[in-house]
Symmetry: C2
Subunit: 315 residues, 2 copies
Protein backbone atom coordinates (compact mmCIF):
# COMPACT_ATOMS: atom_id res chain seq x y z
CA UNK A 1 0.00 0.00 0.00
CA UNK A 2 1.27 3.47 -0.87
CA UNK A 3 2.05 5.89 1.94
CA UNK A 4 -0.71 8.43 2.56
CA UNK A 5 0.46 11.93 1.72
CA UNK A 6 -1.21 15.33 1.94
CA UNK A 7 -1.05 17.89 -0.85
CA UNK A 8 -1.99 21.44 0.14
CA UNK A 9 -3.53 23.49 -2.67
CA UNK A 10 -4.70 26.43 -0.56
CA UNK A 11 -2.96 28.93 -2.84
CA UNK A 12 -4.01 27.32 -6.07
CA UNK A 13 -7.66 26.42 -5.51
CA UNK A 14 -8.02 29.17 -2.91
CA UNK A 15 -6.62 31.62 -5.45
CA UNK A 16 -9.80 31.13 -7.46
CA UNK A 17 -11.64 33.03 -4.69
CA UNK A 18 -9.45 36.16 -4.75
CA UNK A 19 -7.75 36.06 -8.16
CA UNK A 20 -4.52 34.96 -6.43
CA UNK A 21 -4.01 38.23 -4.56
CA UNK A 22 -2.45 36.70 -1.44
CA UNK A 23 0.03 38.87 0.40
CA UNK A 24 3.52 37.57 1.07
CA UNK A 25 3.02 37.12 4.80
CA UNK A 26 0.08 34.80 4.08
CA UNK A 27 2.14 32.73 1.65
CA UNK A 28 5.23 32.68 3.86
CA UNK A 29 3.24 31.55 6.91
CA UNK A 30 1.40 28.99 4.80
CA UNK A 31 4.71 27.52 3.67
CA UNK A 32 6.00 27.28 7.25
CA UNK A 33 2.68 25.90 8.44
CA UNK A 34 2.64 23.16 5.82
CA UNK A 35 6.22 22.15 6.62
CA UNK A 36 5.37 21.98 10.31
CA UNK A 37 2.14 20.07 9.70
CA UNK A 38 3.93 17.37 7.73
CA UNK A 39 2.34 18.20 4.39
CA UNK A 40 4.09 16.26 1.59
CA UNK A 41 3.45 18.71 -1.28
CA UNK A 42 2.53 22.37 -1.33
CA UNK A 43 1.05 23.73 -4.52
CA UNK A 44 2.19 27.31 -5.06
CA UNK A 45 -0.44 28.20 -7.65
CA UNK A 46 -0.86 27.97 -11.41
CA UNK A 47 1.84 28.24 -14.00
CA UNK A 48 -0.57 30.01 -16.37
CA UNK A 49 0.44 31.52 -19.67
CA UNK A 50 0.58 35.28 -20.02
CA UNK A 51 -0.60 34.76 -23.59
CA UNK A 52 -3.92 33.54 -22.19
CA UNK A 53 -4.34 35.59 -19.00
CA UNK A 54 -3.75 39.31 -18.57
CA UNK A 55 -1.13 39.78 -15.90
CA UNK A 56 -2.75 42.81 -14.26
CA UNK A 57 -5.97 40.88 -13.59
CA UNK A 58 -4.27 38.44 -11.24
CA UNK A 59 -1.94 38.10 -8.31
CA UNK A 60 1.46 36.54 -8.91
CA UNK A 61 0.43 33.04 -7.82
CA UNK A 62 -1.52 32.68 -11.04
CA UNK A 63 1.80 32.59 -12.89
CA UNK A 64 4.22 31.32 -10.24
CA UNK A 65 7.41 32.60 -11.80
CA UNK A 66 10.47 30.79 -10.52
CA UNK A 67 11.84 33.90 -8.75
CA UNK A 68 8.47 34.63 -7.14
CA UNK A 69 8.43 31.18 -5.57
CA UNK A 70 12.05 31.48 -4.48
CA UNK A 71 11.30 34.75 -2.69
CA UNK A 72 9.23 32.67 -0.28
CA UNK A 73 10.98 29.31 -0.15
CA UNK A 74 14.59 30.09 -1.12
CA UNK A 75 15.97 26.76 -2.27
CA UNK A 76 13.27 25.02 -0.22
CA UNK A 77 15.59 23.35 2.30
CA UNK A 78 12.78 21.15 3.65
CA UNK A 79 11.29 17.68 3.20
CA UNK A 80 8.19 19.20 1.63
CA UNK A 81 7.98 19.17 -2.14
CA UNK A 82 6.52 21.97 -4.26
CA UNK A 83 4.14 21.82 -7.20
CA UNK A 84 2.32 24.08 -9.60
CA UNK A 85 -0.77 23.33 -11.63
CA UNK A 86 -0.76 23.72 -15.39
CA UNK A 87 -3.99 23.51 -17.39
CA UNK A 88 -3.92 21.97 -20.82
CA UNK A 89 -4.46 24.84 -23.27
CA UNK A 90 -3.64 27.52 -20.70
CA UNK A 91 0.02 26.85 -20.06
CA UNK A 92 2.90 27.17 -22.50
CA UNK A 93 4.73 24.03 -21.44
CA UNK A 94 7.60 24.45 -23.91
CA UNK A 95 8.32 28.03 -22.92
CA UNK A 96 7.30 28.28 -19.28
CA UNK A 97 8.47 25.05 -17.64
CA UNK A 98 12.20 25.19 -16.83
CA UNK A 99 14.36 22.10 -16.65
CA UNK A 100 13.99 20.59 -13.17
CA UNK A 101 17.65 21.29 -12.37
CA UNK A 102 16.95 25.03 -12.72
CA UNK A 103 13.75 25.01 -10.68
CA UNK A 104 12.77 24.74 -7.04
CA UNK A 105 9.62 22.92 -8.12
CA UNK A 106 9.32 19.16 -7.78
CA UNK A 107 6.05 18.36 -9.44
CA UNK A 108 3.91 19.65 -12.30
CA UNK A 109 0.20 18.86 -11.98
CA UNK A 110 -1.53 18.82 -15.34
CA UNK A 111 -5.26 19.49 -15.35
CA UNK A 112 -7.28 18.27 -18.31
CA UNK A 113 -10.66 17.14 -19.49
CA UNK A 114 -10.95 13.62 -20.78
CA UNK A 115 -11.29 14.89 -24.36
CA UNK A 116 -7.87 16.59 -24.18
CA UNK A 117 -6.12 13.62 -22.58
CA UNK A 118 -3.69 13.25 -25.51
CA UNK A 119 -2.43 16.82 -25.06
CA UNK A 120 -2.18 16.18 -21.31
CA UNK A 121 -0.04 13.12 -21.91
CA UNK A 122 2.20 15.11 -24.29
CA UNK A 123 2.62 17.63 -21.46
CA UNK A 124 3.37 14.81 -19.00
CA UNK A 125 6.08 13.40 -21.22
CA UNK A 126 7.56 16.86 -21.72
CA UNK A 127 7.66 17.61 -17.97
CA UNK A 128 8.82 14.10 -17.14
CA UNK A 129 11.71 14.49 -19.57
CA UNK A 130 12.57 17.82 -17.92
CA UNK A 131 12.97 15.87 -14.67
CA UNK A 132 9.70 16.52 -12.78
CA UNK A 133 7.24 14.31 -11.03
CA UNK A 134 3.90 14.67 -12.78
CA UNK A 135 0.22 14.19 -12.10
CA UNK A 136 -2.76 14.26 -14.41
CA UNK A 137 -5.97 15.60 -12.90
CA UNK A 138 -8.92 14.60 -15.07
CA UNK A 139 -11.67 17.12 -14.45
CA UNK A 140 -15.45 16.89 -14.72
CA UNK A 141 -15.57 13.10 -14.97
CA UNK A 142 -19.09 13.13 -13.51
CA UNK A 143 -20.05 14.00 -17.10
CA UNK A 144 -18.02 11.15 -18.64
CA UNK A 145 -19.27 7.71 -19.62
CA UNK A 146 -17.64 4.75 -17.86
CA UNK A 147 -15.92 3.67 -21.08
CA UNK A 148 -14.45 7.15 -21.56
CA UNK A 149 -12.94 7.02 -18.08
CA UNK A 150 -11.63 3.51 -18.70
CA UNK A 151 -9.98 4.55 -21.96
CA UNK A 152 -8.38 7.64 -20.37
CA UNK A 153 -7.02 5.53 -17.51
CA UNK A 154 -5.58 3.03 -19.98
CA UNK A 155 -3.69 5.79 -21.75
CA UNK A 156 -2.41 7.19 -18.46
CA UNK A 157 -1.31 3.76 -17.28
CA UNK A 158 0.89 3.56 -20.36
CA UNK A 159 2.34 7.06 -19.86
CA UNK A 160 5.15 8.40 -17.67
CA UNK A 161 2.74 10.08 -15.24
CA UNK A 162 3.38 9.43 -11.53
CA UNK A 163 -0.06 10.17 -10.06
CA UNK A 164 -3.53 10.04 -11.60
CA UNK A 165 -6.12 12.21 -9.87
CA UNK A 166 -9.75 11.45 -9.24
CA UNK A 167 -11.30 14.93 -9.38
CA UNK A 168 -14.86 15.72 -8.32
CA UNK A 169 -15.00 19.09 -10.09
CA UNK A 170 -18.68 19.73 -9.47
CA UNK A 171 -18.90 18.23 -5.97
CA UNK A 172 -21.39 15.79 -7.47
CA UNK A 173 -20.19 12.44 -6.14
CA UNK A 174 -21.43 10.45 -3.16
CA UNK A 175 -19.04 8.33 -1.10
CA UNK A 176 -20.09 5.03 -2.65
CA UNK A 177 -19.41 6.47 -6.12
CA UNK A 178 -16.01 7.72 -4.98
CA UNK A 179 -15.26 4.26 -3.59
CA UNK A 180 -16.08 2.61 -6.93
CA UNK A 181 -14.13 5.17 -8.96
CA UNK A 182 -11.15 4.98 -6.61
CA UNK A 183 -11.01 1.23 -7.08
CA UNK A 184 -11.29 1.68 -10.86
CA UNK A 185 -8.44 4.22 -10.88
CA UNK A 186 -6.33 2.10 -8.54
CA UNK A 187 -6.81 -1.08 -10.56
CA UNK A 188 -5.87 0.77 -13.75
CA UNK A 189 -2.69 2.51 -12.61
CA UNK A 190 -1.31 0.94 -9.40
CA UNK A 191 0.04 -2.12 -11.24
CA UNK A 192 2.11 0.30 -13.35
CA UNK A 193 3.75 1.70 -10.21
CA UNK A 194 1.71 4.90 -10.25
CA UNK A 195 -0.40 6.36 -7.49
CA UNK A 196 -3.93 7.70 -7.29
CA UNK A 197 -4.80 11.11 -5.85
CA UNK A 198 -8.14 12.66 -4.93
CA UNK A 199 -9.38 16.25 -5.21
CA UNK A 200 -12.83 16.68 -3.70
CA UNK A 201 -15.24 19.62 -3.52
CA UNK A 202 -17.63 20.41 -0.71
CA UNK A 203 -20.87 21.23 -2.55
CA UNK A 204 -22.69 18.50 -0.63
CA UNK A 205 -20.60 18.68 2.56
CA UNK A 206 -18.89 15.52 1.34
CA UNK A 207 -15.35 16.68 0.49
CA UNK A 208 -13.86 15.23 3.68
CA UNK A 209 -15.99 12.08 3.63
CA UNK A 210 -15.17 11.47 -0.03
CA UNK A 211 -11.46 11.96 0.63
CA UNK A 212 -11.56 9.38 3.44
CA UNK A 213 -13.55 7.03 1.20
CA UNK A 214 -10.92 7.42 -1.52
CA UNK A 215 -8.13 6.60 0.98
CA UNK A 216 -9.93 3.46 1.97
CA UNK A 217 -10.01 2.36 -1.67
CA UNK A 218 -6.49 2.81 -2.92
CA UNK A 219 -6.01 6.59 -3.08
CA UNK A 220 -2.81 7.83 -1.43
CA UNK A 221 -2.31 11.49 -2.44
CA UNK A 222 -4.88 13.66 -0.70
CA UNK A 223 -5.67 17.23 -1.75
CA UNK A 224 -6.67 19.67 0.96
CA UNK A 225 -6.88 23.41 1.52
CA UNK A 226 -6.70 25.07 4.89
CA UNK A 227 -10.18 25.83 6.22
CA UNK A 228 -11.49 24.41 2.93
CA UNK A 229 -10.59 27.60 1.06
CA UNK A 230 -11.45 27.15 -2.60
CA UNK A 231 -13.78 28.00 -5.41
CA UNK A 232 -17.45 27.88 -4.52
CA UNK A 233 -18.13 25.38 -1.75
CA UNK A 234 -14.41 24.85 -1.29
CA UNK A 235 -12.36 21.74 -0.71
CA UNK A 236 -11.50 19.07 1.79
CA UNK A 237 -10.31 20.95 4.89
CA UNK A 238 -6.69 20.32 5.84
CA UNK A 239 -7.50 20.54 9.54
CA UNK A 240 -10.21 17.88 9.31
CA UNK A 241 -8.03 15.48 7.37
CA UNK A 242 -4.94 16.06 9.53
CA UNK A 243 -6.94 15.29 12.67
CA UNK A 244 -8.24 12.11 11.10
CA UNK A 245 -4.83 10.99 9.84
CA UNK A 246 -3.21 11.62 13.23
CA UNK A 247 -5.77 9.25 14.70
CA UNK A 248 -4.72 6.68 12.09
CA UNK A 249 -1.07 6.99 13.06
CA UNK A 250 -0.01 8.99 9.99
CA UNK A 251 2.76 11.43 10.96
CA UNK A 252 1.21 14.89 10.59
CA UNK A 253 0.13 17.74 12.86
CA UNK A 254 -3.17 19.56 13.12
CA UNK A 255 -2.17 22.32 15.51
CA UNK A 256 -0.13 24.44 13.03
CA UNK A 257 -3.13 24.39 10.67
CA UNK A 258 -5.46 25.59 13.42
CA UNK A 259 -3.00 28.35 14.25
CA UNK A 260 -2.88 29.42 10.60
CA UNK A 261 -6.67 29.61 10.46
CA UNK A 262 -6.72 31.76 13.58
CA UNK A 263 -4.11 34.11 12.14
CA UNK A 264 -4.95 34.29 8.44
CA UNK A 265 -8.23 32.69 7.43
CA UNK A 266 -10.39 34.79 9.73
CA UNK A 267 -8.76 37.90 8.28
CA UNK A 268 -9.44 36.65 4.76
CA UNK A 269 -13.12 36.22 5.62
CA UNK A 270 -13.23 39.72 7.06
CA UNK A 271 -11.75 41.05 3.83
CA UNK A 272 -14.83 39.67 2.13
CA UNK A 273 -13.46 36.53 0.53
CA UNK A 274 -16.37 34.07 0.35
CA UNK A 275 -16.22 30.29 0.21
CA UNK A 276 -17.75 27.21 1.78
CA UNK A 277 -20.93 25.18 1.71
CA UNK A 278 -24.08 27.08 0.84
CA UNK A 279 -27.43 26.16 -0.72
CA UNK A 280 -26.58 27.31 -4.29
CA UNK A 281 -23.54 24.99 -4.34
CA UNK A 282 -25.66 22.10 -3.12
CA UNK A 283 -28.02 22.73 -6.03
CA UNK A 284 -25.29 22.77 -8.69
CA UNK A 285 -23.40 19.89 -7.08
CA UNK A 286 -26.33 17.56 -6.64
CA UNK A 287 -27.54 18.50 -10.13
CA UNK A 288 -24.07 17.77 -11.59
CA UNK A 289 -23.64 21.30 -12.92
CA UNK A 290 -20.49 23.41 -13.03
CA UNK A 291 -20.52 25.67 -9.93
CA UNK A 292 -20.29 28.84 -12.03
CA UNK A 293 -24.03 29.63 -11.82
CA UNK A 294 -23.95 29.23 -8.04
CA UNK A 295 -20.86 31.42 -7.71
CA UNK A 296 -22.51 34.12 -9.82
CA UNK A 297 -25.75 33.81 -7.80
CA UNK A 298 -23.90 34.33 -4.51
CA UNK A 299 -21.75 37.12 -5.93
CA UNK A 300 -24.95 38.91 -6.93
CA UNK A 301 -26.17 38.59 -3.30
CA UNK A 302 -29.24 36.70 -4.47
CA UNK A 303 -31.10 34.46 -2.04
CA UNK A 304 -34.04 33.25 -4.14
CA UNK A 305 -32.78 29.69 -4.15
CA UNK A 306 -35.94 28.36 -5.76
CA UNK A 307 -35.31 30.63 -8.77
CA UNK A 308 -31.85 29.09 -9.11
CA UNK A 309 -33.39 25.61 -8.92
CA UNK A 310 -35.64 26.53 -11.84
CA UNK A 311 -32.80 28.13 -13.82
CA UNK A 312 -30.69 25.01 -13.41
CA UNK A 313 -33.59 22.74 -14.38
CA UNK A 314 -33.94 24.40 -17.80
CA UNK A 315 -30.20 24.34 -18.54
Amino acid sequence: MNKLRILDCTLRDGGLTNNFFFDDSFVRDLYRTNVEAGVAYMEMGYRASRDVFKESDFGKWKFCDEEVIREIVGDNPTQMKLSVMADVGRTNFERDILPKKDSVLDMIRIATYSHTIDEAIDAVEHCHNLGYETTVNIMAISNDAQQTIASVLEKLAASSVDVVYLVDSFGAFYPHQVAALSRQYAEAVLPEGKQVGIHAHNNQQLAFANTIEGMRNGVSLLDVTINGLGRGAGNCSAELLAGYLMGQGVPCKQEPLIRFIEKHMLALKEEGVVWGYDIPYLLTGQGNHHPSKAIEFIKDCRTQYTDLLRELAVQ
Copy 2:
Protein backbone atom coordinates in the same frame (compact mmCIF):
# COMPACT_ATOMS: atom_id res chain seq x y z
CA MET B 1 -35.35 -4.12 4.06
CA ASN B 2 -37.23 -1.44 5.98
CA LYS B 3 -38.53 1.55 4.06
CA LEU B 4 -36.32 4.64 4.38
CA ARG B 5 -38.11 7.40 6.24
CA ILE B 6 -37.12 10.95 7.16
CA LEU B 7 -37.68 12.39 10.63
CA ASP B 8 -37.45 16.18 10.86
CA CYS B 9 -36.24 17.47 14.22
CA THR B 10 -35.71 21.11 13.20
CA LEU B 11 -37.82 22.38 16.10
CA ARG B 12 -36.39 20.05 18.68
CA ASP B 13 -32.65 20.08 17.98
CA GLY B 14 -32.89 23.53 16.42
CA GLY B 15 -34.66 24.74 19.57
CA LEU B 16 -31.36 24.24 21.40
CA THR B 17 -30.01 27.23 19.43
CA ASN B 18 -32.75 29.71 20.41
CA ASN B 19 -34.31 28.20 23.55
CA PHE B 20 -37.32 27.13 21.48
CA PHE B 21 -38.48 30.66 20.73
CA PHE B 22 -39.85 29.95 17.25
CA ASP B 23 -42.74 32.07 16.11
CA ASP B 24 -45.94 30.41 14.96
CA SER B 25 -45.47 31.29 11.30
CA PHE B 26 -42.13 29.45 11.32
CA VAL B 27 -43.69 26.37 12.90
CA ARG B 28 -46.78 26.45 10.68
CA ASP B 29 -44.71 26.75 7.50
CA LEU B 30 -42.35 24.04 8.74
CA TYR B 31 -45.28 21.70 9.26
CA ARG B 32 -46.62 22.38 5.73
CA THR B 33 -43.13 22.09 4.27
CA ASN B 34 -42.50 18.72 5.87
CA VAL B 35 -45.84 17.36 4.69
CA GLU B 36 -45.11 18.55 1.17
CA ALA B 37 -41.54 17.19 1.23
CA GLY B 38 -42.72 13.70 2.17
CA VAL B 39 -41.22 13.71 5.66
CA ALA B 40 -42.48 10.70 7.64
CA TYR B 41 -42.22 12.16 11.15
CA MET B 42 -42.02 15.72 12.40
CA GLU B 43 -40.71 16.25 15.91
CA MET B 44 -42.50 19.19 17.52
CA GLY B 45 -40.00 19.69 20.35
CA TYR B 46 -39.43 18.35 23.84
CA ARG B 47 -42.06 17.28 26.31
CA ALA B 48 -39.94 18.60 29.18
CA SER B 49 -41.11 18.76 32.75
CA ARG B 50 -41.96 22.12 34.28
CA ASP B 51 -40.59 20.71 37.55
CA VAL B 52 -37.14 20.65 35.93
CA PHE B 53 -37.22 23.65 33.59
CA LYS B 54 -38.52 27.12 34.35
CA GLU B 55 -41.27 27.93 31.88
CA SER B 56 -40.30 31.57 31.36
CA ASP B 57 -36.80 30.59 30.20
CA PHE B 58 -38.07 28.77 27.13
CA GLY B 59 -40.40 28.95 24.18
CA LYS B 60 -43.41 26.68 24.14
CA TRP B 61 -41.76 23.95 22.01
CA LYS B 62 -39.69 22.97 25.03
CA PHE B 63 -42.86 21.66 26.65
CA CYS B 64 -45.09 20.88 23.65
CA ASP B 65 -48.40 20.98 25.43
CA GLU B 66 -51.08 19.13 23.54
CA GLU B 67 -53.10 22.30 22.82
CA VAL B 68 -49.97 24.14 21.63
CA ILE B 69 -49.34 21.43 19.04
CA ARG B 70 -52.97 21.38 17.99
CA GLU B 71 -52.91 25.13 17.36
CA ILE B 72 -50.56 24.35 14.48
CA VAL B 73 -51.65 20.95 13.24
CA GLY B 74 -55.31 20.68 14.29
CA ASP B 75 -56.01 16.96 14.28
CA ASN B 76 -53.09 16.51 11.86
CA PRO B 77 -55.13 15.31 8.88
CA THR B 78 -51.99 14.25 6.96
CA GLN B 79 -49.89 11.14 6.32
CA MET B 80 -47.06 12.65 8.39
CA LYS B 81 -46.74 11.45 11.98
CA LEU B 82 -45.77 13.66 14.91
CA SER B 83 -43.31 13.05 17.72
CA VAL B 84 -41.87 14.72 20.80
CA MET B 85 -38.64 13.96 22.57
CA ALA B 86 -38.60 13.12 26.26
CA ASP B 87 -35.34 12.90 28.18
CA VAL B 88 -34.99 10.34 30.95
CA GLY B 89 -34.94 12.32 34.19
CA ARG B 90 -36.33 15.48 32.59
CA THR B 91 -39.81 14.36 31.66
CA ASN B 92 -42.63 13.36 33.97
CA PHE B 93 -43.87 10.42 31.92
CA GLU B 94 -46.68 9.48 34.29
CA ARG B 95 -48.11 12.97 34.48
CA ASP B 96 -47.27 14.57 31.14
CA ILE B 97 -47.86 11.88 28.52
CA LEU B 98 -51.57 11.57 27.67
CA PRO B 99 -53.11 8.34 26.46
CA LYS B 100 -52.58 8.13 22.68
CA LYS B 101 -56.31 8.35 22.03
CA ASP B 102 -56.32 11.83 23.59
CA SER B 103 -53.21 13.07 21.75
CA VAL B 104 -52.33 14.17 18.24
CA LEU B 105 -48.86 12.73 18.78
CA ASP B 106 -47.88 9.39 17.27
CA MET B 107 -44.45 8.74 18.68
CA ILE B 108 -42.50 9.42 21.88
CA ARG B 109 -38.74 9.49 21.43
CA ILE B 110 -36.93 8.72 24.65
CA ALA B 111 -33.38 10.05 25.02
CA THR B 112 -31.09 8.35 27.49
CA TYR B 113 -27.52 7.58 28.36
CA SER B 114 -26.53 3.94 28.46
CA HIS B 115 -26.33 4.03 32.27
CA THR B 116 -30.01 5.03 32.51
CA ILE B 117 -31.23 2.45 30.00
CA ASP B 118 -33.45 0.70 32.59
CA GLU B 119 -35.35 3.92 33.25
CA ALA B 120 -35.59 4.48 29.50
CA ILE B 121 -37.10 1.04 29.03
CA ASP B 122 -39.59 1.71 31.83
CA ALA B 123 -40.57 4.87 29.94
CA VAL B 124 -40.85 2.89 26.70
CA GLU B 125 -43.19 0.35 28.25
CA HIS B 126 -45.27 3.13 29.78
CA CYS B 127 -45.61 5.02 26.46
CA HIS B 128 -46.14 1.79 24.52
CA ASN B 129 -48.97 0.84 26.86
CA LEU B 130 -50.49 4.29 26.34
CA GLY B 131 -50.60 3.45 22.63
CA TYR B 132 -47.60 5.28 21.16
CA GLU B 133 -44.82 4.26 18.86
CA THR B 134 -41.54 4.67 20.75
CA THR B 135 -37.87 5.13 20.06
CA VAL B 136 -34.88 5.02 22.37
CA ASN B 137 -32.03 7.36 21.46
CA ILE B 138 -28.89 6.30 23.29
CA MET B 139 -26.68 9.35 23.61
CA ALA B 140 -22.92 9.77 23.91
CA ILE B 141 -22.07 6.19 22.93
CA SER B 142 -18.67 7.34 21.67
CA ASN B 143 -17.78 7.19 25.39
CA ASP B 144 -19.17 3.67 25.87
CA ALA B 145 -17.28 0.40 25.75
CA GLN B 146 -18.38 -2.09 23.08
CA GLN B 147 -19.76 -4.46 25.72
CA THR B 148 -21.85 -1.66 27.24
CA ILE B 149 -23.41 -0.94 23.86
CA ALA B 150 -24.01 -4.66 23.29
CA SER B 151 -25.72 -5.04 26.64
CA VAL B 152 -27.93 -1.97 26.08
CA LEU B 153 -28.95 -3.27 22.64
CA GLU B 154 -29.81 -6.66 24.14
CA LYS B 155 -32.15 -5.02 26.65
CA LEU B 156 -33.76 -2.91 23.93
CA ALA B 157 -34.22 -5.92 21.67
CA ALA B 158 -36.27 -7.53 24.47
CA SER B 159 -38.36 -4.37 25.07
CA SER B 160 -41.44 -2.97 23.32
CA VAL B 161 -39.47 -0.18 21.64
CA ASP B 162 -40.09 0.30 17.91
CA VAL B 163 -36.89 2.10 16.86
CA VAL B 164 -33.40 2.14 18.40
CA TYR B 165 -31.35 5.19 17.53
CA LEU B 166 -27.65 5.39 16.80
CA VAL B 167 -26.78 8.86 18.09
CA ASP B 168 -23.47 10.61 17.44
CA SER B 169 -23.91 13.20 20.20
CA PHE B 170 -20.44 14.68 19.93
CA GLY B 171 -20.04 14.45 16.15
CA ALA B 172 -17.09 12.18 16.87
CA PHE B 173 -17.68 9.26 14.50
CA TYR B 174 -16.17 8.61 11.09
CA PRO B 175 -18.18 6.84 8.38
CA HIS B 176 -16.47 3.47 8.83
CA GLN B 177 -17.32 3.58 12.56
CA VAL B 178 -20.93 4.46 11.76
CA ALA B 179 -21.04 1.55 9.32
CA ALA B 180 -19.82 -0.89 11.98
CA LEU B 181 -22.16 0.48 14.67
CA SER B 182 -25.13 0.49 12.29
CA ARG B 183 -24.54 -3.17 11.53
CA GLN B 184 -24.24 -3.92 15.25
CA TYR B 185 -27.51 -2.09 16.00
CA ALA B 186 -29.25 -3.71 13.03
CA GLU B 187 -28.12 -7.22 13.95
CA ALA B 188 -29.29 -6.72 17.52
CA VAL B 189 -32.78 -5.33 16.90
CA LEU B 190 -33.93 -6.01 13.32
CA PRO B 191 -34.62 -9.71 14.04
CA GLU B 192 -37.05 -8.55 16.74
CA GLY B 193 -39.03 -6.54 14.16
CA LYS B 194 -37.62 -3.20 15.29
CA GLN B 195 -35.91 -0.55 13.22
CA VAL B 196 -32.70 1.42 13.58
CA GLY B 197 -32.54 5.22 13.33
CA ILE B 198 -29.59 7.59 13.04
CA HIS B 199 -29.04 11.05 14.49
CA ALA B 200 -25.77 12.59 13.30
CA HIS B 201 -23.98 15.84 14.15
CA ASN B 202 -21.87 17.92 11.81
CA ASN B 203 -18.79 18.69 13.92
CA GLN B 204 -16.55 17.12 11.29
CA GLN B 205 -18.74 17.92 8.27
CA LEU B 206 -19.78 14.28 8.35
CA ALA B 207 -23.43 14.41 9.42
CA PHE B 208 -24.73 13.80 5.88
CA ALA B 209 -22.03 11.26 5.00
CA ASN B 210 -22.61 9.36 8.24
CA THR B 211 -26.37 9.33 7.66
CA ILE B 212 -25.87 7.86 4.18
CA GLU B 213 -23.41 5.34 5.62
CA GLY B 214 -25.98 4.32 8.24
CA MET B 215 -28.63 3.84 5.52
CA ARG B 216 -26.29 1.57 3.63
CA ASN B 217 -25.89 -0.59 6.73
CA GLY B 218 -29.40 -1.25 7.96
CA VAL B 219 -30.59 2.13 9.29
CA SER B 220 -34.01 3.21 8.03
CA LEU B 221 -35.18 6.19 10.13
CA LEU B 222 -33.11 9.24 9.25
CA ASP B 223 -32.98 12.38 11.41
CA VAL B 224 -32.55 15.70 9.65
CA THR B 225 -33.06 19.38 10.33
CA ILE B 226 -33.65 21.97 7.65
CA ASN B 227 -30.42 23.75 6.77
CA GLY B 228 -28.78 21.62 9.46
CA LEU B 229 -30.20 23.85 12.23
CA GLY B 230 -29.16 22.40 15.57
CA ARG B 231 -26.94 22.73 18.57
CA GLY B 232 -23.35 23.60 17.80
CA ALA B 233 -22.29 22.30 14.41
CA GLY B 234 -25.85 21.25 13.69
CA ASN B 235 -27.29 18.16 12.08
CA CYS B 236 -27.71 16.31 8.83
CA SER B 237 -29.33 18.82 6.45
CA ALA B 238 -32.80 17.87 5.25
CA GLU B 239 -32.16 19.40 1.83
CA LEU B 240 -28.99 17.36 1.28
CA LEU B 241 -30.62 14.10 2.28
CA ALA B 242 -33.82 14.75 0.33
CA GLY B 243 -31.81 15.41 -2.83
CA TYR B 244 -29.88 12.19 -2.31
CA LEU B 245 -32.98 10.11 -1.58
CA MET B 246 -34.79 11.48 -4.64
CA GLY B 247 -31.87 10.22 -6.71
CA GLN B 248 -32.34 6.82 -5.09
CA GLY B 249 -36.01 6.72 -6.03
CA VAL B 250 -37.33 7.40 -2.51
CA PRO B 251 -40.54 9.46 -2.74
CA CYS B 252 -39.67 12.84 -1.24
CA LYS B 253 -39.23 16.41 -2.46
CA GLN B 254 -36.34 18.81 -2.01
CA GLU B 255 -37.91 21.96 -3.43
CA PRO B 256 -40.24 22.74 -0.46
CA LEU B 257 -37.22 22.50 1.85
CA ILE B 258 -35.24 24.94 -0.29
CA ARG B 259 -38.21 27.29 -0.27
CA PHE B 260 -38.41 27.10 3.53
CA ILE B 261 -34.72 27.95 3.85
CA GLU B 262 -35.17 30.94 1.58
CA LYS B 263 -38.14 32.18 3.61
CA HIS B 264 -37.23 31.33 7.19
CA MET B 265 -33.68 30.14 7.75
CA LEU B 266 -32.02 33.23 6.29
CA ALA B 267 -34.17 35.36 8.62
CA LEU B 268 -33.17 33.20 11.58
CA LYS B 269 -29.50 33.78 10.74
CA GLU B 270 -30.10 37.51 10.50
CA GLU B 271 -31.70 37.43 13.94
CA GLY B 272 -28.35 36.19 15.20
CA VAL B 273 -29.06 32.50 15.67
CA VAL B 274 -25.74 30.71 15.15
CA TRP B 275 -25.18 27.12 14.07
CA GLY B 276 -23.12 25.07 11.64
CA TYR B 277 -19.60 23.76 11.15
CA ASP B 278 -16.85 25.83 12.69
CA ILE B 279 -13.35 25.11 13.98
CA PRO B 280 -14.30 24.87 17.69
CA TYR B 281 -16.83 22.14 16.91
CA LEU B 282 -14.25 20.24 14.91
CA LEU B 283 -11.95 20.36 17.93
CA THR B 284 -14.56 19.03 20.38
CA GLY B 285 -15.93 16.50 17.87
CA GLN B 286 -12.61 15.03 16.81
CA GLY B 287 -11.49 14.99 20.45
CA ASN B 288 -14.72 13.22 21.48
CA HIS B 289 -15.77 15.99 23.86
CA HIS B 290 -19.25 17.30 24.53
CA PRO B 291 -19.75 20.41 22.31
CA SER B 292 -20.52 22.64 25.32
CA LYS B 293 -17.01 24.15 25.49
CA ALA B 294 -17.12 24.97 21.78
CA ILE B 295 -20.58 26.51 22.07
CA GLU B 296 -19.40 28.66 24.99
CA PHE B 297 -16.23 29.63 23.07
CA ILE B 298 -18.26 30.82 20.07
CA LYS B 299 -20.85 32.56 22.23
CA ASP B 300 -18.01 34.50 23.86
CA CYS B 301 -16.87 35.60 20.35
CA ARG B 302 -13.47 34.04 20.96
CA THR B 303 -11.29 33.08 18.00
CA GLN B 304 -8.11 31.85 19.71
CA TYR B 305 -8.65 28.29 18.53
CA THR B 306 -5.25 27.14 19.73
CA ASP B 307 -6.22 28.17 23.28
CA LEU B 308 -9.31 25.99 23.00
CA LEU B 309 -7.14 23.11 21.75
CA ARG B 310 -5.03 23.44 24.89
CA GLU B 311 -8.05 23.77 27.19
CA LEU B 312 -9.53 20.60 25.72
CA ALA B 313 -6.23 18.73 26.03
CA VAL B 314 -6.09 19.25 29.80
CA GLN B 315 -9.72 18.26 30.37
